[in-house]
Amino acid sequence: MKKIIELKNITKSFDGEPVLKGINLDIYDNEFLTLLGPSGCGKTTLLRLIGGFETPDEGEVVFLGQVINDVPPHQRNVNTVFQKYALFPHLNVFENVAFPLREKKVPKDEIEKRVTEMLSLVALSGFERRNITSLSGGQQQRVAIARALIGQPQVLLLDEPLGALDLKLRKDMQVELKKIQKQTGITFIFVTHDQEEALSMSDTVVVMSEGKIHQIGTPIDIYNEPINAFVADFIGESNILDGFMLEDFRVTFSGQTFDCLDKGFGYNEAVDVVVRPEDVDIVSLEEGQVAGVVTSVTFMGVHYEIIVDVGGFKWMIQTTDFVDVGEHIGIKLDPDAIHIMKKSEYSDLYGDYSFFSDEMEEAVEGEVKA
């Protein structure tokens, strides 16, 4: 696959506050790449560097082999869909979409043709003469996409474009965006803090925090093989426990030794153990590898979310079976439910659900003692 953008050792700070700390990233042609991370992690700044609205303090932005650090936005073959769409209120739908073509002095009849095509691509045919302010959020979103695509950029940058939409509309637009990307074959660089969005749409997910990239991978890799406690916690729900490797494929945590699928760690090396809540089986006390007390139960629709106290560590478990608060249950883990990570600076920061409800905890403890 062809590399379209390379970011080499990029650093950037605002008013002495470092925002990006040595970013290296390759982006390939035809790829749907998502920059995912909590707000303030630097993902929008990275996008603006590619768009040309910021210049890096150090490092290089390379576009098809050319360093473009100092190329202004209007000379980059890259377009952006802004967070709040940034549609031009004094122009109607047609004129907004036609704007880049008019700037390029494209002939009138060609403009007419291309705008009509583009509006049908984003399902807005018949809206040509409408005023921007009379459109719904979803419609404005699609005008913004049409406007950004009509100049046939090689890369489309999307800065949290779905953030302002309500849940239902967001789901629809996710599907639609993916469809448009497939149809046009343009590289999409998508910024979001919503991990579900990132997983469902992307070819590649880049997880960032505090100006650094933690992990680059497919959604499945990122979910199943998180590289550290931060990623494990940020992507989905995770129980992260302290453990140590006995040998390849054998790990000890919660006072028990389990079979697992990981290898290559040193003897007795301390590790972080990740167990996804949906991978935990609830069984009877006798069958369980570990035993615990249910401290809270929340009905979530598809499943229950329950918190189980196992020797002071609170597990989150998602199950379709109903258990009651106060019930003593057994927990069983299959080897493929267990993922081992090296210790990192993020260890012990995430993965314990005891903060979920202290009040409930005390009440349950009282009961247990009685």
Partner: protein, 651 residues
């Protein structure tokens, strides 16, 4: 509560709009009284159309307002964009405060400081005269700028910051992004700023007054300087027209605001219904046409009249020259035409006006202007000569000087006839309502002290003139240096005070015309203006007390003059029969020119009664003048007099 609230609202509106309503009504008055509406007529509007001086001032005002508003809008918008881009909060609020200073600063201080700056800069650059159209323009831009910034800044703040970025992303250079996207967004603010700047510049008096150069007179300055005589009703007509023009601008600007507000509401409601895309387009067209029109006008104006030609700067009292109204001769125009025919060269007279000798003196003293001809009064001439501020005249260039009557030469202020050519003179007399005042009581100043008419007497609201009445009455020299005699006069004024209806200047016209007061002292020429406009129940008559005040206004050339010879030609032309008669008939004061007072046409035109009053017997004119006219008082006596005057007015 409700009816009370309504009444209250009605009262507020009455309070706000009654003055304008009165102005409007009296602009259609067929007579020239301010108190009696004698019938509907467009007379004053016609008069206005023929008053080339006022129209010239109006044109100047419009040129200035247009250029100032357009330039300040461009500069202000750029400044607002800059301020908005500042990242640091403290910097931004600091910039805001600094730009707002000219707005909160009192006009008078802005005016004085700007004048100082221009004079100072002019001296540094070695220019003789530093005040001109351009300084006035700079001054106007200075005070308009903050208003523009104040209008544009909020629009920039409201605007989505990513709009210009989006434009650049879609292929615009930063400049094009501003023009194509940012500017349309902030256009309502820019236009409101433009309109505000225009109206502010249009009616500014104080700052203009300090920064005006010679020959560029704006309307507010012209109207102000009319206060020597009364403001004529054609000014009501002009004011009415301006009021409606401004009203129209205001309505346009409000409509535009209304439109944006409506858009915002629509956006909020997220209306799905199709809406005619009229407003943005219409707004843009309107904005462009306003700006375009204004720019074209400004360009046309700046190129008009730039051809190299002679210029003469004349500085005279307001309404003190025949200006072409009511079929009279436009003396200035006539001079320009005559000069071109005579000398084969175009000349332009820059004519501007002042309201008092002191105003004129201050302007000359500032050293920032250059006038070629001025028309000060006698005591001021004495002062100017003493301070070496006048040039001796070359009477060979003023052959018509020979028509100045013998008795009007060698007057005290210019005993050897070196500096002056008399223009007009006048004598103070007493005006009374014969329907109320007993014939037996008239004849001397005593009438103004007669307890029979207590509460019906008007006294000058001006220290020198008021003291004058008392001193003539007591037989004291009005130029005395003896403080005891001033005390004596004060006592006389104090005795009179309980009988006085009011201390007045221009208000005397209305008070006498309407019969509100029965006795007052004023100039003979003005008596006719009052008699013309008197109400039916009033019969105004006039007499001279034996000792009374005489004044002379004479044409002089100040030492700052740059075209002395031209000035002498101008003065000579003013003495020619045609110009002198036209001026005398217009001004209605006595004229010392034999070509006038011996002219059959003039005497016919004025009538016997007027001639008798305007030109009282003249055998001992010079002696009387030299002993009764006001002379320059020493600083000590002047401040003593003013102290006494204050004590009179306060107690």
């Amino acid at each position: 509560m409700r009816p009370i609230a309504k009444v209250y609202t009605a009262l507020i509106f009455l309070f706000l709009f009654a003055p304008i309503a009165i102005l409007l009504v009296f602009s259609f008055n067929s007579g020239n009284s301010l108190s009696v509406f004698s019938g509907f007529s467009l007379h004053w509007y016609q008069e206005l159309l023929h008053d080339t001086n006022t129209l010239g001032a109006l044109k100047n005002t419009l040129i200035l307002a247009l250029s100032a508003s357009i330039l300040s809008t461009i500069l202000g918008t750029a400044a607002a964009v800059g301020i908005n881009k500042l990242r640091s909060r403290t910097m931004r609020s600091a910039m805001n405060t600094v730009t707002n200073i000219p707005m909160v600063n009192p006009d008078i201080i802005t005016g004085i400081s700007l004048m100082l700056l221009f004079v100072f800069a002019g001296r540094l650059m070695g220019l003789g005269t530093s005040l001109n159209f351009w300084t006035m323009l700079i001054a106007h831009i200075t005070f308009c700028l903050p208003y523009v910034i104040l209008q544009v800044l909020p629009k920039l703040r409201q605007m989505d910051k990513s709009l210009p970025e989006a434009a650049m992303d879609l292929g615009c250079t930063p400049m094009r992004a501003f023009l194509k996207v940012e500017l349309p967004e902030i256009m309502p603010g820019v236009l409101t700023g433009l309109i505000m700047a225009f109206t502010l510049s249009l009616d500014d008096f104080v700052i203009s007054y300090f920064t005006a150069g010679n020959g560029f007179e704006t309307l507010p300055i012209r109207i102000y300087s009319m206060t020597k005589k009364t403001v004529t009703p054609k000014m009501y007509a002009l004011a009415t027209l301006i009021f409606f023009a401004i009203l129209a601008l205001l309505i346009i600007s409000n409509l535009m605001d209304e439109e944006t507000a409506q858009e915002r509401r629509l956006a909020k409601a997220k209306r799905k219904k199709e809406r005619k895309p009229l407003s943005p387009q219409a707004k843009r067209t309107l904005a462009l046409s306003v700006l375009g029109g204004a720019a074209v006008l400004a360009l046309a104006v700046s190129f008009a009249g730039r051809a190299q030609q002679l210029e003469l700067n004349v500085y005279n009292w307001g309404e003190y020259i025949s200006d072409g109204s009511e079929g009279s001769l436009d003396t200035i125009k006539a001079f320009e035409k005559w000069y071109e025919e005579e000398y084969g060269q175009k000349i332009r007279v820059n004519y501007s006006t002042y309201a008092s000798n002191e105003d004129m003196y201050a302007k000359l003293k500032s050293g920032s202007v250059s006038y070629d001809v001025i028309v000060p009064s006698d005591y001021m001439i004495a002062r100017l000569i003493a301070e070496d501020m006048l040039l001796p005249l070359d009477y060979d260039n003023i052959p018509n000087y020979k028509y100045i009557g013998e008795q009007f030469r060698g007057l005290y202020y210019d005993p050897n006839d070196e500096y002056t050519v008399p223009y007009t003179y006048g004598v103070v007399g007493i005006i009374y309502n014969a329907n109320q005042v007993d014939e037996a009581d008239i004849g001397d100043w005593d009438l103004m002290w007669n307890p029979k008419y207590a509460g019906r007497i008007l006294q000058f609201n001006n220290s020198r003139d008021a003291f004058g009445t008392a001193m003539y009455k007591l037989g004291i020299d009005v130029n005395t240096g003896d403080k005891a005699q001033w005390d004596q006069a004060l006592a006389e004024l104090q005795a009179q005070r309980p009988m006085i209806k009011a201390y007045v200047m221009d208000e005397i016209f209305n008070a006498m015309e309407s019969g509100e007061a029965d006795i007052g002292a004023y100039y003979a020429g003005d008596y006719f203006t009052m008699a013309d406009a008197q109400a039916d129940s009033v019969d105004l008559q006039f007499y001279y007390p034996p000792a009374t005040n005489y004044f002379f206004d004479s044409m002089c050339i100040p030492s700052c003059a740059q075209h002395k010879e031209l000035a002498e030609i101008f003065i000579d032309y003013m003495l020619s029969e045609e110009a002198a008669i036209a001026n005398a008939e217009y001004i209605y004061y006595a004229c010392p020119n034999a070509l006038v007072y011996e002219s059959e046409d003039y005497i016919d035109e004025m009538g016997e009664e007027a001639m008798e009053i305007l030109y009282p017997p003249m055998d001992d004119f010079k002696e009387r003048y030299n002993s009764y006219a006001y002379q320059n008082l020493s600083d000590d006596i002047l401040s003593y007099m003013n102290e006494l005057w204050e004590s009179l007015k306060i107690n």
